[in-house]
């Protein structure tokens, strides 16, 4: 609900943007600078302006046309622009979309340039770097990273007899059972985002392959995923997690403040939310921790967004300058201060204020253990079905076995065309240039 409202509120910005465009259009008439079109989505779009101004100061011969697009419209805008040949030079791109635009052969392969440029690629977190590599090509330069960690109330954990978050599933489970019993007596031990992410993460932690050979089949009946699924369902079965987050829980942050909820799994945006919403007395009583795994510290997913250059761009040099500038450590730090988006480079985490922020230690540790989602164009459609069958199983409408069997069957249907092409050996995007 919050998400939708936010999108609505963002719409209010349009008259302003229009006005700004008119004004800018008015003064830009005699501009001889090389012009780049840069599409940025959602909140990043609202906050990135100062960085662009800094870039233009450094490069007086370049001018960047920043175009802000709400997240809800972004994907369709990109695709229609692709069909109509109206793509910008550079754009921000969610990691889960990369595969689709790579499949369309719309993205520039940055591999050669990066190998020749003196860019320390090992400074980037490996998981998020891997999310940009598809079939041996590098299609984007990571801009910010998004992952899931545990947020917890330090005081309540201590009351339950724990100094810090456990690192294994079994210990974690034991902790949660203690949290809902006296003396803590929370109504719920844990809250999960109402989407597919937690279940998929549990699967990845168990080393479940998710998809079969070459991403052509669903492989959710694999024993490793089944184990993750059982663990996931057990959390609801034991009433450690609310089944429906709206009736049983008002606002996550409110219940967290009241001590009715002790742990929740969420992303970087929750850091800002907690700092805004929790009363001062609670500000030093929460922390983040990396996710526990089946046997020890667990994986989490490598989400976030990258900067891509479209193949149609006629400004190869300038676009590279722009995306390099935006991933430079000092600019990354400024970007973090503007948006709260987590930097993708290790060296930035060594700089204050990130270095001294103990509350985001969970992210710092987790980022060393992140893994990208399957890089195939159908992933989002598959993820939606995972969410559906997880819902059905946790509400008891389907047995876990039935749910996974039906999920596999549906994913196989979704991947039908992909499979046919792979088996026929006739499909390769590069062959159709």
């Amino acid at each position: 609900m919050c998400d939708r409202l936010r999108k609505l509120i963002q719409l209010k910005g349009w008259p302003l943007i229009l006005l700004g465009w008119l004004i800018l259009g008015g003064c830009g008439r005699e501009d001889a600078r090389e012009r780049l079109v840069f599409w940025v989505f959602g909140r990043e779009g609202e906050q990135v302006r100062p960085l662009i101004e800094a870039f233009e100061l450094e490069h007086p011969d370049l001018r960047v046309d920043l175009q802000q697009i709400p997240w809800s419209a972004a994907y369709e805008r990109l695709l229609t622009a692709y069909v109509g040949g109206q793509l910008p030079d550079v754009a921000q791109m969610g990691n889960s979309w990369l595969a689709r635009f790579a499949e369309l052969h719309a993205l520039e392969d940055l591999g050669t340039w990066i190998r020749e440029a003196d860019l320390d690629t090992t400074d980037f977190f490996e998981g998020v770097w891997m999310a940009n590599r598809i079939d041996g090509c590098l299609y984007g330069l990571p801009w910010y990273v998004d992952t899931r960690v545990i947020f917890y109330r330090t005081d309540l954990l201590r009351r339950a007899g724990y100094e810090r978050m456990p690192t294994t599933w079994s210990e974690w489970s034991r902790l949660m059972h203690r949290l809902v019993a006296p003396p803590v007596g929370a109504r719920y031990a844990l809250w999960l985002l109402p989407d597919w992410s937690s279940l998929v993460i549990f699967g990845m932690q168990n080393d479940a392959p998710l998809l079969g050979a070459r991403g052509a089949y669903g492989n959710f009946r694999d024993e490793r995923f089944r184990r993750a699924f059982r663990f996931y369902l057990s959390l609801f079965g034991a009433r450690l997690v609310p089944l429906s987050s709206t009736t049983q829980l008002g606002s996550v942050y409110q219940e967290f403040a009241r001590g009715q909820l002790v742990l929740f799994i969420s992303g970087p945006w929750s850091v800002g939310e907690l700092r805004d919403r929790l009363p001062d007395s609670l500000q030093n009583r929460w922390a983040t921790a990396p996710l526990p795994g089946p046997e020890g510290p667990g994986l989490s997913l490598a989400g976030g967004a990258s900067l891509v250059i479209f193949r149609g761009s006629r400004h190869p040099e300038a676009t590279r300058k722009l995306i390099r500038f935006l991933t430079r450590p000092d600019v990354q730090l400024r970007f973090y201060e503007l948006t709260g988006d987590l930097p993708v480079r290790r060296s930035v985490w060594q700089l204050p204020p990130l270095r001294d922020d103990r509350q985001i230690d969970g992210f710092r540790e987790q980022l060393a253990r992140i893994r990208p989602l399957p890089t195939i164009p159908e992933w989002e459609a598959i993820a939606a079905r995972i969410h559906y069958y997880a819902e059905a199983a946790k509400r008891g409408l389907l047995s876990p076995e039935e749910a996974l069997t039906m999920l596999d069957r549906e994913v196989d249907l979704l991947l039908d065309k992909r499979r046919r092409w792979i088996s026929a050996g006739e499909y390769h995007p590069a062959a159709h240039d």
Partner: protein, 297 residues
């Protein structure tokens, strides 16, 4: 002479009908035909990248559709919407129109405006208000239930309640339109008929049953047709309020079509779905129109 006259008549008719016919041809028949052709192919995201990989798959999309559980669920939800929504909309608007038509009702113009206001309000604004009404913890509806000592209901989060909740909202939003039509039609019922009925000793129900309803019948059927067609294409309500969830409980045909076509870009499949929807609506309209024709006879 006779032949020449006919051809002149035809020519004149052609000139008059031409513009309208060409509009129908270009903007309705041709897209429908193109959609049908598209539904015979496996056009999808891959096809954008490599058009030469497009395949003609014949009726395979339709065959897949019949085996797709989500299709049947969407069809069921849509029919539920059309049935419940249609009956409620017609019943409520007819009832309200009858009431507003009474001489003792004051502020008639004001009331008419009040009932019609939701029709012209954008759905997104309406949705925000209704989300508050339906909110599981702090919503108006559940606070009312609590006052009565009943358990709160998760209106939009519970698969059993989500669809009826949306129907209720849609009815509230749309019934002002048919109300307006009914009010206009009621004005046209000759007063003498009521006088005659009263002299014969008919009570209010009998007057309604034997005077009002027969006179209104063509209007009721027309309004029914418009309403049913509108609900058949219901999209914005679930899209804005629930996104089709929970557990696809509010997934409608058009929402499924949007999902397949514009989120996952399986355009061939989506076109097949659109075509099935088109045929279903055509059938429904044909039935209702036939009923109307019989009513007028």
């Amino acid at each position: 002479m006779k032949d020449g006259g006919l051809s002149i008549e035809l020519r004149v008719a052609g000139w008059f009908l031409g513009p309208a016919l060409s509009v129908v041809l270009i903007f309705q028949l041709m897209p429908a035909g193109a959609a049908f052709l598209l539904s015979l192919t496996d056009f999808d995201l891959y096809t954008f990248a490599a058009p030469d990989t497009l395949r003609i798959v014949g009726l395979r999309n339709y065959q897949m559709l019949l085996q797709d559980g989500r299709f049947w669920l969407a069809l069921r939800n849509t029919l539920y919407f059309v049935g419940l929504g249609g009956v409620l909309t017609l019943g409520l608007s007819l009832g309200t129109a009858l009431w507003l038509n009474q001489r003792f009702v004051r502020f008639r113009a004001l009331l008419r405006t009040v009932y019609f206001a939701p029709v012209v309000t954008t759905l997104v604004a309406v949705a925000i208000v209704w989300r508050y009404i339906y909110h599981a913890r702090y919503g108006l509806l559940n606070q009312g239930l609590q006052l009565l000592g009943l358990e709160p209901v998760d209106w939009l989060g519970d698969p059993r309640w989500a669809l009826p909740s949306l129907v209720l909202m849609a009815v509230w939003k749309n019934y002002g339109y048919s109300l307006l039509i009914f009010m206009a039609a009621l004005q046209a019922v000759p007063e003498e008929l009521y006088d005659a009925a009263r002299i014969d000793g008919a009570d209010l129900w009998q007057q309604f049953r034997h005077v009002t309803l027969p006179t209104l019948r063509p209007v009721v059927l027309l309004t029914g047709l418009v309403t049913a067609n509108g609900y058949f294409q219901v999209f914005a309500e679930p899209y804005v309020m629930t996104g089709g969830g929970p557990l696809d409980a509010t997934l409608t045909m058009v929402l499924l079509l949007y999902d397949q076509g514009f989120r996952w870009w399986r355009l061939g499949y989506a076109a097949a779905l659109a075509f099935v929807l088109f045929v279903l609506m055509l059938l429904l309209s044909a039935v209702l129109l036939r009923l109307q024709r019989e009513a007028q006879r």
